[in-house]
Subunit: 253 residues, 2 copies
């Protein structure tokens, strides 16, 4: 890390970054280590002075890289304790990706009911958004989320089978805790970021029946594409939310 003016690596885009600050290079190296699993989710990273020594860089530069990654949600910093790999297992990030809130009362964990889990050749559309070859297989999951006895969310989920070897209905059903935590601990796939497209749609026959609603009832359609390290898409999710007693919460800033 002695050369400050190292080129910014591959640059396919026309507007190549002319210059990459040291802390960004450190950030890239740390992200790479995360990808390779050098530190497991929830584990502590080496301390700032250690990392500074390792990268031959001042502690301030390491700090800036760590702060940036903490801001991105990849790391969690705790004063007096250390810097840790972010995980979906923690209570504080339990609901990071579920924006559904009840109109009344506090948010509570919803019950899950697994409806289906099968392996199949990826439909064209699914293969396209997940960046799979046609012919690659995916795991398709259908499940309900219920508030008490009332079904609120109907999810269809597609995962690249290659990354989720051995994922089965039994495994899903037996698991207690958030699905993303299972993915993380059992398959080493961490969801970092997601894009959602939200629409209002009328409930179709099957969906209406599963959600215990009349056909044609308005539902929130939430299409989510989730990414792991490096912006690699690893999950497609199509959720139908019944928003009579819940709403989707968003903060703009």
């Amino acid at each position: 890390m002695a050369s400050t003016s190292a080129p910014a690596g591959t640059a396919a885009a026309p507007a190549a970054p002319a210059f990459s600050p040291l802390y960004r290079q450190i950030q890239a190296l740390l992200t790479r280590s995360l990808t390779l699993g050098e530190w497991q989710p929830g584990a502590a990273l080496p301390s700032e002075p250690e990392l500074a020594l390792r990268f031959k860089v001042s502690q301030g530069t390491v700090r800036k890289a760590l702060d940036a990654m903490a801001a991105d949600g990849l790391l969690v910093r705790r004063q007096g304790k250390g810097t840790f790999v972010a995980t979906h297992a923690e209570a504080q990030v339990q609901y990071r990706f579920l924006r559904l809130m009840p109109d009344q009362g506090e948010r509570q964990a919803m019950r899950r009911r697994l409806l289906d889990c099968r392996r199949l050749r990826a439909p064209a559309e699914v293969a396209r958004v997940l960046g799979l070859d046609s012919g690659d297989s995916v795991v398709q999951i259908r499940r309900l989320l219920l508030a008490g006895e009332v079904p609120v969310v109907l999810d269809d989920i597609w995962l690249p089978a290659r990354l989720f070897k051995g994922l089965s209905a039994e495994r899903l059903d037996a698991y207690r805790g958030p699905m993303y935590r299972l993915f993380e601990t059992e398959f080493g796939v961490r969801m970092i970021r997601a894009d959602e497209k939200i629409r209002a749609v009328a409930a179709g026959g099957d969906e209406a029946a599963l959600l215990n609603l009349p056909e044609g009832a308005p539902l929130l359609l939430v299409e989510r594409l989730s990414f792991t390290y490096g912006g690699k898409p690893v999950e497609l999710r199509r959720g139908l939310y019944h928003t009579a007693a819940h709403y989707y919460r968003n903060e703009l800033s």
Copy 2:
């Protein structure tokens, strides 16, 4: 700013912050200046060394305060030029609060059609969320947004009349550019942050007619509460989005 350990000001919450770092205090002072209008939207702040001198603090501390405020969207920093008060007038933040994207093609400015603008006593619910006294008056606006000739969004907007003296249908109709820019330049009210609650609903008779849809068509209901400096609510907006050719985009991280 000589004393590092000044108390953190008022602390009504049970868990009072035991300690407020210098840069947070600087941040509070700068935010106060913004509130008081010391620098207009789009204007440049004094340079970092000047601010450091003014607050009797090192440049690094000023920088940390400015960086934090830039991250919050209150300021915009431009290398080689200076630090500026964020504004809704800039192209880059044009769509900061409108998350609607077309399925096909690039996002384009939508045409506006003002349907109504009147002053009235705040309905109880509106007064409650805007923190007004019962009896305070509000400006109520109803408008359409159209993509080409197709109505896509029906907005109902409520604003505290006290803050928007002189806002009229003529003024709104004559203004070219984003509504939040008008609020900012003409009334000195800057929208900093907003909370949205999103649901799927069936179009009612009036709404269906205005959006040129059959009654009962599914629509996205977006209830937005916007805040200015200091977390003060200053706008309630109830939008109905027709999501056949558009979707609401959200990024989770």
